[in-house]
Amino acid sequence: MKEQIKIRAKNLNFYYTDFLALSEVSLDFFPHQATALIGPSGCGKSTFLRCINRMNDLIPGVRVEGSLCLDGQDIYGPKVDVVEIRRRVGMVFQKPNPFPKTIFENVAYGLRVNGGRDREALSRRVEESLRLSALWDEVKDRLDQSALGLSGGQQQRLCIARALAVRPEVLLMDEPASALDPIATQKIEELIHELKKRFTIIIVTHSMQQAARVSDRTAFFYMGRLIEVGNTETIFTYPRHKQTEDYITGRFG
């Protein structure tokens, strides 16, 4: 059973200087599953997500306590190579953030910084990633055009393709559809269904419906604490805690 856990957070505390943003969070993530993180704004969902690929390292004065393991290896261990962690744990951000480069170069970026030079191999991987993110047919004739010319939804799928190109094991998504229209959102959700067959997916969402549609498990955060976690269906039909119930039924004050 232990090998089955992809990521394990144990008693995780996180501080922004003096502010305790995550408190005693213990949470496991399993391969080939999508786990949704839900909770009111400011409860620490993004903070938790950004702990997993050590994105919070960029903010001065932060501190992590407890343990967070990827395949049993402590992500915050002293000998860990942050770059290596980030290659294994990809991330898609809330706002689409393609580079002001061509579509091809956006997807190839992670390979290039990884030393990929062979044009042939790059092309193959770019096509594979774009197909995987269901964008290939829309962009195959304009790979050398700027990514900034794409629509918001296309840009977000490009960002997903860009993350997939380095073949990560885990994909973190921070409200990936919050800036998109309903049709683009639906495309992203369909995509998540496909992707979870191959990756471990952790998705933050403020939409209850979205959590219900895309995730296998759901974790509810409140004020920096993990209140409860379980099968998505169970959480939405029989929440054990009053706070969870209030939140998912929209009765939150």
């Binding site: 991330m91 951000f93 992670g110 910084v113």
Partner: protein, 296 residues
């Protein structure tokens, strides 16, 4: 109601007039510059003026060929850019991306103070400190030469290049930086593959403005360039850039003499150069305005 309307109109008119003042002043200077410069072309053809290699304005008969002066200006600008661009841009990258907040708090004001140094002070430094040093180290005939002037000019354009580039680098959206790091790029890879390219239009503008500053600078070249109106053959030749020529000779050129007109014509040429630089800067700044996360 009517009164308020009138007041509104008056205020608008007031602001318009104030804005007009700078336009008018610029226009007047231009008209003056051209009216005083163009008459020389009754005596000398444009081609001989620009491409003539002899500048002997007070000889009998005089020679008004400014190619040595143009060559000197271009040379000092080019050499000073070779020094100032790497220095300015690297410092900007360091300040915006690498320096700790404390280091930044120390370095930034220092660089800005460099910009506040009066050019005559830099010229003085070049004259009494750097020129003797060059003379001694390199066994030259004179320490006042192309190299000295270029280095002093580089001191003057580094702050311009650095502070504008730094602004451009600093304003690259954090999302782009995060996107790069999240893909497993190192900080260094992120800097040269994402941040610098995204800031490139700002950096180019900075470079061009810095070059424009170097080309128009007068006091420094007057003091340390050496003053010989020869087309430079080496870094150690004394030269006479256009602004130095104008400043040195204007006082002795009789009013409305050929020499006087010729100096104004040099002013016109100089103006055209810096004007071109500014057009380039505007063009580049406008062309790549859109960087970062796109609109939805």
């Amino acid at each position: 109601m009517n009164k308020r309307f009138l007041k509104e109109k008056l205020i608008r008119a007031g602001f318009f007039v104030t804005a007009l003042v700078s336009v008018l002043v610029l226009g007047m200077i231009m008209v003056f510059l051209f009216s005083q410069g163009l008459p020389i072309f009754d005596q000398v053809s444009v081609g001989r003026f620009i491409f003539g290699t002899q500048w002997y304005p007070t000889a009998e008969p005089p020679d008004f060929g400014i190619l040595p002066l143009i060559a000197a200006s271009v040379a000092v600008t080019a050499v000073s850019s070779l020094i100032a661009i790497p220095l300015g841009v690297t410092t900007a990258v360091y300040l915006a991306e690498i320096a700790s907040p404390r280091m930044r708090g120390f370095f930034k004001p220092v660089v800005e103070m460099l910009a506040a140094l009066p050019s005559v002070v830099i010229g003085f430094f070049g004259m009494v400190v750097f020129a003797p040093f060059l003379l001694e180290q390199l066994d030259l005939l004179t320490g006042l030469n192309l190299l000295n002037a270029s280095i002093m000019l580089a001191f003057m354009s580094v702050p311009t290049i650095c502070s504008i580039s730094e602004d451009a680098i600093y304003s690259v959206p954090a999302e782009l930086k995060e996107a790069s790091l999240a893909l497993g790029a190192t900080h260094w890879q992120t800097i040269y593959r994402v941040i610098v390219p995204a800031a490139l239009s700002g950096i180019s503008t900075a470079v061009i403005l810095g070059m424009s500053r170097a080309m128009g600078e007068t006091m420094v070249v007057l003091m340390v360039a050496g003053g010989a109106s020869l087309i430079p053959g080496s870094l150690f030749d004394p030269v006479r850039p256009m602004p130095a020529s104008i400043a040195a000779e204007m006082a002795e050129a009789p009013f409305h003499s050929e020499h006087y007109y010729a100096l104004f014509a040099i002013g016109v040429v100089l103006f055209l150069f810096t004007f071109l630089f500014n057009i380039c800067a505007d063009y580049i700044a406008g062309r790549h305005k859109q960087v970062g996360a796109a609109t939805l």
